[in-house]
């Protein structure tokens, strides 16, 4: 919020600031003959009027977005313990790397000769990712985790098609993230749900019963979305191998085992990594990310084309000659400059540093869990959580409150709420991932806030019902938004 004035004062939509003829832009003078579009483009339907873009000065433009930024929380402002999202510090080193003109100004269709630096960078990054995951080959095209999932499932499908048919089903735990079943469906698979056992881990017996010749594969996060490590992973993977099915590793939680456990060792054939989580590339308010997909040897032939290849003479090129490739999932080469950021993160930490990342991430999560266990108990206390944990706020119901109320109240304490209502199998789920870059004192303050809110729930529930009261807007009417669907500004709107 601005340092002064009414914090509830709304920021006008940029369009409301428009004045006909006002502008920020300046363009190079025309040093060639001007042409009249009507003559140059005979028979072409031209615009009567330009699109109604905002008409503002550069100062008004910058002020508008500066003020909007004051209405937004980010990691730079404070703790952002969003479970499953690894909201860790985004190093400015990575931004400096991304700003290098030699990387920022490279055209995607520049001849390989002109892109040797970028190709070498990708080749090195590949080496890092293969070593970290224990897999064999990579594609950099996927722009995010879910994109990686879809790509990975396509690879699984292509593999099966080469080995007796695509098969029909993908098995997904009931605790899985929604993108898993959604990706399976987009890949033409029927989704079969395997239940979690009483301890929060995949029910191995149930899985045994579900697996059959139509099973194309199993999608798993490990640690799973409850933050629990699937200790029976070897048994699970064996069950799938028995029927020739493949294992997909959702890398969203890779931060928990970075440098300590490799998905390849656990028997996974396909892995997507989430650069905007594990490798700290900025989330950007919802993106961009990068979701490189790594595969075992048998799936390598199906990877999207092209892939980076190294010539005997040490030069690099894009290899387009991939006859069994599934094709393409990106119009260019994926989010190349996000990958640059991720590479800077790896170079900075090194092999040893990465193992420190996961150990401290797990420590921080367990430290917070221990701090609130008595007031917000773990949903599945049988196993030690890893980099995140899921508590249940179901006791709040006694006071006619829900975990959403607790979250809104947390906002008034100055903390961004954790993920909630996910995973779906937990009643009033509160999913907390502090990440390794948070200091102990910050975690102590966060624990104190949660404890104090739980206390308020008993003594003064209205504080929670009314929250948040310190934000530019109070709780918003989502039903009205969906009912009336105002999806853009229109002239005259106020």
């Amino acid at each position: 919020m601005p340092v002064m004035g009414d914090r509830r004062a709304p920021e006008p939509r940029l369009f409301e600031r428009s004045r006909p003829g006002r502008r920020a832009s300046s363009l190079p003078a025309l040093d060639v003959p001007d042409v009249d579009p009507t003559q140059a483009l005979p028979g072409v339907e031209l615009a009567h009027a330009p699109p109604a873009l905002p008409e503002v000065s550069e100062l008004e433009l910058l002020r508008h977005f500066t003020r909007l930024s004051h209405r937004n929380h980010g990691i730079d402002v404070g703790l952002y313990p969003l479970g499953s999202c690894s909201m860790k510090y985004n190093p400015r080193l990575a931004e400096a790397a991304a700003a290098l003109p030699g990387l920022r100004n490279l055209h995607p269709w520049a001849p390989d000769e002109a892109a040797q630096g970028m190709l070498e960078l990708l080749a090195h990054l590949e080496r890092w990712l293969l070593e970290l995951t224990g897999l064999h080959a990579v594609t950099f095209q996927p722009a995010a985790g879910a994109h990686g999932e879809l790509t990975g499932l396509m690879l699984i499908r292509a593999y099966h098609e080469d080995h007796g048919g695509p098969r029909r089903t993908i098995i997904v735990p009931d605790s899985a993230h929604g993108t898993n079943p959604a990706s399976a469906a987009m890949c033409g698979y029927e989704v079969v749900t395997v239940p979690s056992g009483g301890d929060g881990l995949v029910d191995a017996d149930a899985l045994d019963d579900l697996v059959d010749e139509q099973t194309a594969g199993l999608m798993l996060t490990n640690p799973n979305t409850l933050g629990l490590f699937e200790v029976e992973i070897e048994r699970l993977s064996a069950a799938l191998r028995r029927v020739g099915a493949l294992l997909y590793y959702d890398g969203a939680n890779f931060n928990a085992i970075l440098g300590r456990v490799r998905p390849g060792t656990m028997g996974f054939d396909v892995v997507h990594l989430n650069c905007h989580k594990t490798f700290a590339t900025p989330h950007g308010g919802g993106g961009p990310g990068a979701g490189p997909v790594l595969v075992s040897e048998r799936l390598a032939p199906y990877l999207p084309a092209p892939v980076v290849a190294r010539e005997p003479d040490g030069t690099y090129r894009w290899d387009h000659d991939r006859p069994r490739s599934i094709g393409r999932v990106h119009g260019f080469h994926g989010n190349a400059v996000v990958l640059v950021r991720a590479y800077s993160y790896l170079l900075f930490h090194g092999a040893d540093g990465l193992a420190d990342v996961s150990s401290r991430a797990v420590l921080n999560a367990n430290y917070v869990a221990a701090g609130i266990a008595d007031v917000l108990p773990l949903a599945y206390p049988q196993h030690q959580p890893m980099h995140e944990f899921v508590s249940t706020g179901k006791d709040l119901k006694r006071h006619g409150l829900r975990v959403a109320d607790l979250c809104k109240r947390l906002i008034d304490y100055g903390f961004h709420p954790p993920t909630n209502y996910f995973p779906l199998i937990v009643d009033e789920a509160l999913m907390v991932e502090p990440t390794e870059t948070e200091a102990r004192e910050t975690l102590d303050d966060f624990v104190a806030a949660l404890r104090s809110i739980v206390a308020e729930a008993g003594t003064d529930p209205d504080l929670l019902h009314a929250a948040p009261t310190t934000t530019p807007v109070a709780r918003l009417d989502e039903a009205k938004a969906a009912r009336e669907l105002v999806l853009r500004w229109r002239p005259g709107d106020l």
Binding site: E45, S69, L150, G287, L363, E436, R488
Partner: protein
């Protein structure tokens, strides 16, 4: 005491005292104990075969070396969906604001009104550019946006086939096929006129869910969107147009010409080249299809006190709620790039956008004239173009010619990969390409055509 070996603490703040106290609090004797319940066989025994870390200075020096091995000094006449438009400094000033850069999907609207309002404004400008009422909050890129649009059309029409122009860029056609294949959807290609480079209106059967074409198309040629819309609708199909967004500074919006879904690649809008990513894909549609939209959607509403605010809306479309029934699996999108696009478009303003498009047109016309005056160089299509055009070089291997030009400091391309114009070299002129540069390219072209043929 010796200098502690290049201090690399990573970004974790834990002091020895912190570790001790925190381990005690969680009842562990060591950090390793936090992983003790993981089967030993799965835990790394040997250290990773990777270098140790470096300081910020060393890492940046290393990346600087790599960056220096790319040639970004060649004057950029390249196109093919990515263009060397100028990115004003104010764009970086906005997207580097930490509150926006380091936020995530606005799950908590009260703490995310800044980004939510910006996305609402983004949806508005995309709606304006496309001529359609509804825009989502971005997709990965222009190519996947086409694939998502075809899925919308399939679910809207209950049909499975897509009739795709051969003058839609090949990477996009590839992505579309890759997305369609597992679903058993057919992608039928209609050719384009070898003379004009335009896509003829094709016969459509009742299995066709959508006609897909690009405006301007992959050769830079302007298509007759209205005619295609008429034909598609007559056959009960939708028209999907992949739009190069700066073109509407001159051309009528595809939505205004009858397209049902308009998608595109956001790169020309304040993104920079970045080797093709990150950028963003945009997607807009008619009201009829709003519930089939993939991805995030921001809607306006009010708070308890009646104050205006914004939230993500129609969430039931999305994977985290509908799971396998979702309209798409997309979760993280390209929000920050979409924001950059919004800032760029607001910087341009309507007048600026018109000037930009007019400037590109004038420069393209001028360049085409100068370059085709070189012998051995001719236009590969004679249809109308506005920023980009295909040149037929009288050489055995156009790729070799492109490489030769790059070595001489001139970036052109890509080479048209298939169809009647296969082998033609694309040349694009943004507002940055000067008369002098065009003349320089012409000289180089003359040399190269001589050498190589």
């Amino acid at each position: 005491p010796p200098v502690p070996e290049a201090a690399r603490v990573g970004f974790a703040p834990h002091t020895a005292a912190d570790l001790q106290a925190m381990l005690a609090a969680v009842g562990k004797a060591s950090l390793d104990e936090l992983f003790a319940h993981i089967p030993a066989a799965l835990r790394l025994s040997a250290p990773l075969a990777l270098p140790t870390g470096g300081s910020e200075e060393e890492v940046l020096a290393r990346l600087g070396e790599l960056a220096a091995r790319n040639d970004t000094d060649a004057v950029c006449f390249a196109g093919g969906g990515a263009y060397d438009h100028y990115v004003p400094a104010v764009v970086g000033a906005v997207v580097s604001r930490g509150e926006l850069l380091t936020a995530y999907t606005p799950y908590q609207p009260e703490a995310s009104q800044g980004m939510l309002q910006a996305l609402f404004e983004y949806q508005t400008v995309i709606s304006e550019l496309t001529g359609l009422p509804v825009s989502n909050a971005s997709l990965y890129d222009g190519a996947s946006a086409v694939a998502e649009a075809v899925s919308m059309a399939a679910s809207a029409t209950g049909r499975d086939d897509a009739a795709v122009s051969g003058a839609l860029d090949l990477p996009t056609r590839r992505v579309l096929r890759t997305y369609a294949q597992p679903l058993g959807r057919r992608v039928l290609e209609t050719g384009y006129d070898p003379g004009s480079g335009q896509t003829p209106v094709a016969e459509l059967d009742d299995a066709v869910a959508a006609v897909v074409l690009a405006q301007p198309n992959a050769l830079g040629i302007v298509e007759d969107v209205r005619a295609h819309a008429r034909a598609a609708h007559a056959a009960g199909a939708l028209l999907i147009v992949k739009l190069e967004p700066t073109a509407v500074g001159l051309l009528a919006t595809p939505g205004g010409q009858g397209a049902d879904i308009v998608v595109g690649e956001g790169q020309p809008l304040g993104q920079g080249l970045q080797y093709g990513g990150p950028s963003f894909g945009f997607l807009a549609c008619t009201d009829a299809h709003v519930r089939r939209l993939p991805g995030r959607l921001v809607g306006q509403t009010v708070d308890g006190r009646g104050a205006r605010g914004y939230v993500m809306t129609l969430r039931p479309r999305e994977q985290d709620i509908r799971r396998e029934k979702a309209t798409s699996n997309i979760c993280t999108n390209q929000t920050l790039c979409a924001l950059a696009g919004l800032v760029y478009l607001a910087w341009l303003g309507p007048q600026g956008l018109t000037e930009l498009a007019r400037s590109c047109l004038a420069r393209a016309r001028h360049a085409a004239g100068v370059l085709t005056a070189v012998d051995g160089v001719a236009l590969a299509a004679d249809g109308p173009f506005v920023k980009e055009f295909p040149l037929r070089l009288d050489v055995p291997d156009p790729h070799a010619a492109v490489a030769a030009l790059q070595r001489q400091g001139w970036l052109v391309g890509p080479v048209v990969p298939d169809g009647p114009a296969a082998g033609a070299v694309l040349v694009a002129t943004t507002e940055r390409r000067t008369r002098l540069q065009v003349e320089g390219l012409a000289e180089a072209l003359a040399r190269v055509v001589k050498e190589v043929r």
